[in-house]
């Protein structure tokens, strides 16, 4: 283990430069995010991820945000285990009927001020799964959404851009 650790010390870091914020996301946020509330939280946001019915593709790319290349925590974000510790809910999937109540409860358990980021094409309007007896639709059909990040699944860089826009919006 010492050898691996030592090699890590002398090698250049893998972490990539910040991709910058997404201007389209910023425009969407301008209408949604309360400036005063945002200032109170400073530059640190705690994220609770909620899979409301996804195929798990979005989760894989959200996981990738924690790897050495994207290193989400350097921007002040961290994933937390409980909605009670969260400022941001990152919600994926078409919301299934079976997950609607769980999503509502998770939202209600998150203290204000809070934001909801809907991740992936399914989270916008149900995507390819819309029209099914088992699907409610997009995330905004169940809880208010501040920002959508598109993609099937969105690349980690797109997720970063969207989240950075949320952070920069002061």
């Amino acid at each position: 283990m010492r050898k691996i650790l030592f090699e890590s010390l002398v090698k250049r870091p893998l972490t990539e430069p910040s991709p910058g914020r997404d201007d389209a996301a910023l425009a969407e946020l301008a209408a949604n995010v309360d400036r005063a509330a945002r200032r109170k939280l400073g530059r640190s946001l705690s994220i609770r991820e909620v899979d409301a019915g996804s195929c798990n593709g979005c989760e894989l790319e959200i996981h990738a945000l924690n790897n050495a290349f994207y290193d989400l925590e350097r921007f002040g974000f961290r994933f937390v285990a409980s909605p009670r510790h969260a400022d941001v809910l990152l919600v994926t999937g078409p919301v299934t009927r079976n997950m609607r109540e769980a999503l509502e409860r998770t939202y209600n358990a998150t203290p204000a001020p809070k934001w909801v980021v809907a991740v992936g094409d399914c989270a916008i309007d149900g995507g390819i799964f819309s029209g099914s007896y088992a699907v409610v639709g997009g995330v905004k059909a169940v809880v208010p959404v501040d920002l959508h990040i598109r993609g099937c699944p969105p690349r980690p860089t797109d997720l970063l851009k969207g989240l950075l826009a949320l952070l920069e919006k002061q």
Partner: protein
């Protein structure tokens, strides 16, 4: 030696079902088939509903011979297979919930997948309005002094899929775990019905995002079998290249995540780097990190970009440089071994009974790998081993995956060296009337089965069975007598799919 199908003497063979036969049987033969499963003469591959019928796919081992047996439910009922063969129980509960067909004699009558939030009852069958009042879901009891319950989920603490786990524990020790799944049920089979082939292929690729290549491939195999399409050799090789990249990415991600669940984060960090390298290679070849929608019936959606052999060889060289050091670190860290060795044992007898595939099966002595038997191209032309261990613990599942990483690297090398030239796609011509096909593909977590019936250029019915159906119940058994704190390790070492199971 009589073949599987010979045993069903009075069976009526169905036309246009490929590549394996489907036969319609009466009650006596249906019961004989169930008994074959219960006696371990054959393995249950799948059991699913249809309009007024149930189909059961059976596998003879080790030959890999497959047969589909159909029972026509003239009065809306069928003799329960689960009554004599427990691995069928959840499948029959799902058939009853989705189709309304009643399995006579099924020991567990509780609904499955339907958690009481749908507007319709039996959504793939009669589609009645759901009753306003439903019976409370009763978890199985555990009795004794000093027991208490821990309810977990559907929203879990990590970035994972939703499901409910009900633990009954005595102090630290798990006495019983019961799963309740269905939270991510999206009604995929109802969306499949009537879908044109291109939409159906996209849906198949979104059953379980981590296995999108395997699902798209199994779906394509089923369509190509039904329509007797021969795929060009280049596409066959490129598909295997994609499937092995997917296997590598998942194995790296999960080996790291298992160690992370024992708080050994350096493995997680380095395995995460290897996973990212694989995904970036996939992205540079297929313009999608998970290679979604890359495989379509007839071949590949597009000829890959920049498929430079040197770039792929460089990836393999990098992995071969780093991975052995990580394996050594895993194997020589006592605090980590203390957590993984002898934890969460899946007993070989149960694994055989349930026909559990993937690393769950192969870590407990079941050598099944769909790439080998029944087998499909190009694996018959490539050299690879199927690693098998017998311990059945978390450590064995990790080791099977370590060995499979080595095999996948070798397979990718062989594919790159022998990649045929030519087109990567042929046009798929729809046939007149009904055509049926079956595909069985080895995903990273086990065999994925896709059965479908095509009506002209549309899907009339498509059933997709994830490997998890036969692995989830074994997780319940494997955590018994383990401490609650080891559940994450056990769970991650199985890594069953929620979305693939819930559909």
């Amino acid at each position: 030696m009589p073949t599987l199908i010979d045993k069903f003497s009075e069976a009526r063979r169905v036309e246009h079902h490929r590549p394996w036969p489907r036969v319609v049987v009466g009650e006596v033969t249906w019961r004989v088939a169930a008994r074959e499963l219960a006696d371990g003469q054959a393995t249950l591959l799948g059991l699913w509903g249809d309009t007024d019928a149930v189909h059961m796919a059976m596998l003879a081992e080790p030959s890999g011979e497959i047969a589909v047996v159909t029972y026509e439910c003239s009065n809306g009922t069928f003799p329960s297979v689960g009554a004599v063969h427990p691995p069928a129980i959840r499948l029959e509960r799902a058939i009853h919930t989705l189709y309304g067909l009643e399995p006579l004699g099924l020991p567990d009558q509780r609904p499955w997948l339907d958690l009481g939030f749908w507007d319709v009852a039996h959504p793939l069958g009669a589609r009645n309005a759901a009753p306003p009042e439903r019976a409370r879901y009763e978890f199985l009891p555990a009795e004794g002094e000093s027991l208490h319950q821990i309810a977990v989920g559907p929203v879990h603490a990590g970035i994972i899929e939703p499901g409910h786990f009900r633990f009954t524990v005595n102090g630290e020790t798990v006495v019983r775990l019961e799963q309740r799944l269905g939270y991510v049920h999206k009604g995929i089979e109802s969306l499949m019905a009537g879908a044109p082939l291109d939409k159906a292929a996209r849906l198949a690729g979104r059953v379980s995002g981590d296995s999108t290549v395997a699902y798209a491939l199994a779906f394509a195999h089923a369509v190509e079998a039904a329509l007797e399409v021969t795929v060009p050799p280049r596409a066959v090789y490129l598909r295997a290249f994609m499937a092995e990249l997917e296997r590598l990415a998942n194995h790296f991600g999960d080996i790291g995540a298992i160690c992370n669940d024992a708080s050994f984060s350096i493995m997680h960090a380095h395995c995460g780097i290897l996973r990212e390298r694989v995904l970036r290679t996939a992205d540079s070849c297929f313009n999608h990190r998970l290679m979604m929608d890359g495989i379509v019936p007839g071949g590949l959606a597009e000829e890959p970009l920049l498929l430079g052999a040197s770039k792929i060889k460089a990836l393999i060289a990098e992995i071969r440089g780093l991975f052995p050091k990580l394996v050594e670190l895993y194997d020589n860290t006592a605090s980590l071994q203390e957590r993984t060795v002898s934890t969460g044992i899946a007993k070989p007898a149960l694994v055989k009974q349930f026909g559990a595939g993937g690393y769950v099966g192969r870590a407990s002595g079941r050598a099944f790998d769909a790439r080998r038997a029944p087998g499909y191209a190009p694996y018959d032309q490539l050299k690879f081993d199927v690693p098998v261990l017998n311990e059945g613990d978390v450590n064995a599942r990790v080791w099977v995956r370590i060995r499979e990483v080595e095999q996948s690297l070798s397979l990718i090398e062989q594919i790159v060296d022998h990649l045929p030239d030519g087109p990567a796609r042929v046009e798929v011509q729809p046939a007149e009337g009904m055509r049926e096909g079956l595909g069985l593909v080895e995903a990273f977590r086990g065999d994925v089965l896709v059965w479908l019936r095509l009506d002209g250029d549309r899907v009339a019915r498509c059933h997709l069975r994830d490997a998890s159906w036969f692995q989830w119940p074994l997780l319940e058994a494997a955590v018994e007598d383990n401490i609650v704190a080891d559940f994450p390790l056990c769970n991650k070492s199985f890594n069953c799919s929620y979305s693939g199971h819930d559909l």
